[in-house]
Subunit: 213 residues, 4 copies
């Protein structure tokens, strides 16, 4: 609820403000209904949380790539652990997103699955062990091996794809650790959304990223 409707727009403005004069790219992945108003209010990358592997037509109740693009999104998450997809649909979503002009961040929960999704040639791969999501225990500290193993396996099959990591990331230290393990960025939800002062959390993350560079 902290990231729904007007509160989502407010949060987006705060995050934009923290990052606007830096070299860091902060993207947002709001709920579908909030994409349009956030896109109209901030100038940072916006991602849908999901698209359906479906083309316009008999698609009532589904999320079309074209619709999220028309609302102003720049990209979409695919296969988030809270919205797992059949393998064949992951591939179709990456393809449909490309056709609609959307970037893709495809998520996976293990190093092996991260490599599998990297074969679909998304714009980014995100590794998020589901068992740590929302726990406040950072994957980059609790399970650094899964991060390094993911980086290794992903780059073996797709040497150039940027890799994000997420799950439990809460502090600048967690972010610093994640980048030092070979990732190119992080995925974060509750640590920012539920913070009393989200802009301070994001500022700490930015500082850690610059330090790690």
């Amino acid at each position: 609820m902290e990231s729904t409707g007007k509160r989502a727009v407010d949060l987006s403005k705060k995050i934009e403000k923290v990052t606007e004069n830096s070299s860091i790219s902060a993207g947002l992945a709001p709920q579908f209904c909030d994409i349009e108003q956030i896109a109209a209010n901030v100038d940072i990358p916006i991602f849908a949380q999901h698209i359906d592997a479906i083309t316009p037509g008999a698609s009532t109740g589904h999320v079309l790539a074209e619709s999220v693009k028309a609302a102003g999104a720049d990209g979409t998450l695919v296969n988030h652990s809270e919205r797992p997809l059949p393998l064949i649909e992951i591939d179709s979503c990456v393809e449909l997103a490309k056709q609609a002009g959307l970037k893709t961040v495809v998520c996976a929960g293990t190093a092996r699955l991260a490599a599998a999704v990297a074969l679909s040639e998304p714009d980014m791969v995100a590794i998020e062990p589901p068992e740590l999501i929302g726990t406040g225990r950072a994957v980059s500290k609790q399970n650094p091996e899964i991060v390094t193993e993911s980086v290794k396996r992903v780059h073996k099959v797709n040497p150039t794809v940027p890799i994000l990591c997420g799950a439990g990331i809460s502090t600048g230290e967690d972010v610093y650790a994640a980048l030092k393990l070979g990732t190119n960025g992080i995925l974060v939800a509750s640590a920012v959304v539920k913070a009393p002062k989200p802009e301070e959390v994001v500022a700490a993350f930015c500082e850690a990223i610059l330090k790690a560079s």
Copy 2:
């Protein structure tokens, strides 16, 4: 694509204009990403096409009732034939929608299933035989028995719930037939969305409704 983004807003304004001085209530069920901008531009009821049977929390990629409400929707479709739901989720969606202050139109494809969903006490029941959806052959003319049987079976278990019917409805005559069979309104998509002049189609529907009253 005719009902995505700016075109959805334009279409909504046209429909509002046709119905604004009449006693007829015309609602819209746009894509999720278009709800907010349509709600900001027209003053007629807006329905989401679907909500997920899920509460805020670990719901990335899902559609929360609270989110569509915050975007300005007045209600939601549930169990559309292109987005069929487990029985238990139909019931949960009606409940979650009520809690969020959303009206519900629960869809079913047969008379028996229409009665089954009427037991969940939605605000409206819609009968739409999937085999006629998008065909241009109106359920109210091709299969009037399914409409009368639905009205009978629904009212047996829930005497007061309004009943809509849809599938293939294209002309004023189709609408007139539908109301004369005992329904309280219609659900329509392609006949309006794909019409060269959607406002004329809606005007013809309105005329038929007034004639049937």
Copy 3:
């Protein structure tokens, strides 16, 4: 694992032995792969745990009604809480089962949903609140209202369908309470399957049923 393969056959024989000279009908719902061998070894009703709403053809990996019938099953469960189905498929499964000569026991977790599935005219309705399944706390004692409310609502829309109840049923007392609430029988899994002497548990159930009659 206690009810897989040879152990399932042994268990079935024990249950048959307890009930064979009584007026009580005990049915079994083994795993798909065990239906054939159990049917070949005992002479009591056998139910599949599920069938798919699919007809022969492109159905690799699915469970056809005809296949469970050919293996010797007499019926099938439909919509068990561990295998919930879209509303439309519940109805199709009842229909496909009838065509294949299989009896149906359609499950539901609430009184309202029990009435909804009763509209599909299955051979039996089973009410099983998922939150009590496998707990050892019997629905008939923990939540007798849901049982009486289910009986009332089901019989309102389908006055003759027999009603089973399940979830947490462990003792003869639980069974007696269930029947006294207006049900016609019980559904039970772990209390029998995991008992050191399943035949004694079943014997206690039978005694309770006779006492309640």
Copy 4:
């Protein structure tokens, strides 16, 4: 229906007879309910058509690896195009099958997806473009590029895994072509199951395999 119940057992015996004195390994993937009786009657490898990514416990209506193993199966198909699975479940099924002592044949519809599933280290990968399944137009002749591309991509990430191909394979020539494209075997359904004399079709396949070796 041609491969259900007793007819499945008869068909299995015929196939065993054709291959029993040859160096060719012919496996069968019958329906769940037929595994036990086929395993009891023939001595060739038997595969389930699917297992669920679930462990014993609250699994009513699902197919446990342990259950198909106990019935006599040697392995299982995973992710057949008629039973597509979430990526994460493909991986879990391979793992659960290994623990239960079952071989795995993981299916994929494109070269890219074939490589993705090869990362899960199944015992075999099968490439089956869904658009050709059941058409009688053999993938090995209609779309040889997808086969060679699959072999190339799969071996790049998993050099030793055997590769099967399927979809439309109907004649000895189709089989010969498939092996010459670098595959190690074929998957076939309707061409054998619906043949008036299945044993002759299988004999022709065997001849083609020996010729291609």
